[in-house]
Symmetry: C2
Subunit: 215 residues, 2 copies
């Protein structure tokens, strides 16, 4: 980073000292700040009812809390200090204007249609960690429905023809188990098969994806 940019950022940043275990931001919060770690180590974690996933560590010099660069997002992860940290906190508008000389909304829009996909993938994978095939498959189907589905009287019809093998690769499972699980879903009436096309019932599936098991 160029010296003048660093100086300008420093002038517009608030300094924050946090102790080990303290929270820097919480999941669910509105993303309204960008953070730069000056010293110490922080960790990013995803909290899914009982499951906790450590998404990654942040080291000195790294910029984090970047969901504030996307339009109207809330934090998907929690960030807490792993050792005592000192952090610079800056508004995204200021950050973007300083390092790029572009208004935030403009960058925000571009990032959303480009690297926004990366963000989505990270969240999806973090979600999947520690889940069984059943939940992963349910999640994947919901995602597909949102992206390639059209509304139908019985649910959401997938406009794309998927083989079980492809679905298996998508959720990281074997073809056989995927077939089996789809059979279960059909028996539980959360998906309907019409020839080789799938109709899914998002409401039921969603419930099912987030309940331990049974039913």
């Amino acid at each position: 980073m160029r010296g003048d940019q660093a100086a300008r950022l420093a002038a517009n940043a608030a300094a924050l000292k946090v102790r080990r275990e303290d929270v820097i931001f919480m999941e669910g919060e509105a993303s309204s700040r960008i953070y730069i770690l000056l010293s110490g180590v922080a960790k990013l974690c995803y909290v899914n009812r009982d499951q906790r996933v450590l998404v990654g560590f942040v080291g000195p010099g790294e910029v984090f809390g970047l969901s504030s660069l996307l339009p109207q997002t809330t934090r998907p992860f929690r960030c807490e200090a792993y050792s005592d940290c000192s952090v610079a906190v800056v508004k995204p508008e200021v950050f973007v204007d300083t390092v790029l000389g572009v208004p935030l909304e403009r960058l925000s829009f571009v990032l959303d249609v480009t690297v926004g996909r990366w963000w989505g993938m990270v969240v999806r994978y973090a979600n999947f960690v520690g889940l069984g095939l059943r939940e992963r498959l349910a999640g994947a189907l919901l995602e597909l429905a949102e992206k390639f589905g059209v509304r139908d009287s019985r649910g959401t019809l997938l406009t794309i023809k998927l083989t079980h093998a492809d679905l298996a690769e998508l959720v990281g499972a074997s073809r056989q188990r995927t077939t089996e699980q789809l059979g279960d879903f059909e028996r539980e009436r959360v998906i309907i098969r019409e020839g080789r096309r799938l109709i899914i019932v998002p409401e039921k599936l969603w419930q099912l994806a987030n309940t331990p098991q049974a039913n």
Copy 2:
């Protein structure tokens, strides 16, 4: 996207028609183009010797092949047409200048220190899918060594004090199995313990992470 931007992009883009199963770009290639999917569906997949992971689908209107926005990267994923597709191909310089009015190198640099982390996480998770605890743990240790390690006569010393529970959360495994696997690694002399600090031997560990098992 604004009309004039779209027009300018269109004027500077090459049209590409591909048939189902055709490759749009290969893993390992230099990332020298940005792609916009005009019609059809494409898939992004990660190929790890025998394992194939379907990272995600690309739908009409989406922009992909974005690793070209980061400095000197090669494609980590392969992209192939899932149905017949028509694609617009454009140079990253042109794309960035058109939609943001900023030179590519400038954006590239900024993305690298900000959302570049997302990219890294996606690649890591894609890597981990379908691997056993042994390989995931080896991968995580290597990553930690690169980020928080200092060279030592016997290997790379981790400057950060990790509990087994944290490591377990990082690799998505239980604490007990993590402890056990660390024990194995120590017995195989790919890590050394000095009190509660870890020294890892990257060369050996790396080999071990990419071999089926045994040894």
